[in-house]
Symmetry: C2
């Protein structure tokens, strides 16, 4: 495994910035670290280390003391809740540059699992709390992120409580389109991209069953709104029509 602290030993520039690691970090600008100056970045860097997560591996468990915080470098993680009889609801998705963890909070009520292979930049929670305590602007940045996450969660509450299966699927596809960007042959034309989630995971995000997800997708395919070339690939053919089906707020 790649250990960032080792790298620090042999490569940092005159400001003490860990050159080979944070400066080259793909998510540096978009992550919480983006607000940090060189000095602080270097200090934070010393607290963290990179870690690879295999598909299905967890970094936080519902009900347990939360030991770490992390920035996502690559891959997608799910935040999920379970009923005691095993039904699952995915209550959040974490993408590269997203922050995981709850500084200043003892326990965390959800499980965080890598949906595919992933890489994270991980910090012991107590170290991270100490780091935050003397940097109000960073606490503020985290607060802003948390408000955003809360708004997302609440929007999905509307989805789960009040929208039909077709609305949920359309909404989900549009969100995925925004996320991935996708690839289009001609401007304004059909856009193709791969869903980063299995049908089962989509069902757990949308509060549906696998079968309903599948059926709604083929319904959209038959209607000519999307294409399903196979696997997890989707083509958005009529984006406006899809937006119309989504019908959201």
């Amino acid at each position: 495994m790649f250990d960032s602290r080792t790298t620090l030993a042999w490569s940092q520039d005159e400001h003490g910035v860990p050159a080979a690691v944070c400066k080259d970090c793909a998510v540096r600008q978009d992550s919480l670290c983006g607000t940090l100056g060189d000095q602080d970045l270097s200090a934070l860097h010393k607290l963290g280390r990179r870690r690879h997560l295999h598909r299905g591996e967890a970094i936080a468990w519902a009900g347990e003391e939360s030991r770490d915080c992390a920035n996502i470098l690559s891959g997608i993680l799910k935040v999920s809740a379970l009923t005691h009889d095993g039904r699952e609801q995915i209550v959040g998705l974490l993408y590269p540059s997203d922050f995981v963890g709850q500084p200043f909070m003892g326990s965390f009520d959800f499980t965080v699992t890598a949906l595919g292979d992933a890489e994270v930049c991980i910090f012991p929670r107590s170290d991270f709390e100490r780091f935050l305590s003397t940097r109000n602007h960073l606490t503020q940045a985290l607060l802003r992120r948390t408000f955003d996450t809360l708004s997302d969660a609440r929007k999905r509450m509307l989805l789960l409580g009040r929208q039909s299966a077709s609305e949920r699927i359309a909404d989900f596809l549009l969100q995925m389109l925004d996320r991935t960007g996708g690839c289009s042959a001609s401007a304004g034309g059909p856009v193709t991209f791969d869903l980063p989630l299995s049908r089962g995971a989509i069902a757990d995000v949308l509060g549906l069953t696998i079968e309903t997800v599948s059926r709604q997708m083929t319904k959209l395919k038959i209607a000519g709104v999307i294409g399903l070339p196979g696997g997890r690939t989707v083509t958005i053919v009529k984006r406006e029509e899809l937006r119309h089906v989504a019908n959201a707020a």
Copy 2:
């Protein structure tokens, strides 16, 4: 209307603490203000004013620039989202001592409305932001509150996505029991309290219809788990049985 600033003029103790207002404030200890010392409390007090809200009155509107932050003094407010065709989902309930608003965030995507008459201690957002900026411990306290709110929202996502109507109702009743405390004739015996929400509001919280809420309640009554003496009054007869029905995480 009662203006707290007027009070400040004629009653504060030697530390500059607004005696008749903040010191006597019913929610002082439980609210965000609870973390403040006398100096800071006095400074914050100057920024805010009390405001009475009539039943149905809103203090924030979805999609609009959020002008204010506030502490709830009395009453219950709802945070709600609407689909464009008018279906409503209540995505949060605010009780006395709860904080409303999103400092450092321009817009707010939900509407906040008083369910009954209510009183709030309201601050212009920009003033409150300036106040927070120089007080890291307060920013931290707000961050902790926001994490709690997020956890609540996510737990309700599990409820909305994966639980049956009877589970939702049982869960809701237990939460209300915890909130209100209720009143019991004998320890461990039946507990009676008034629901602060109409059937319609309960339906909007739980993602159900009024009729389903009503039916599930009478089902619990017939089963002898609860009593419904009339109006919004509920008696919890078999708390363990109710917990069993709730079946939660």
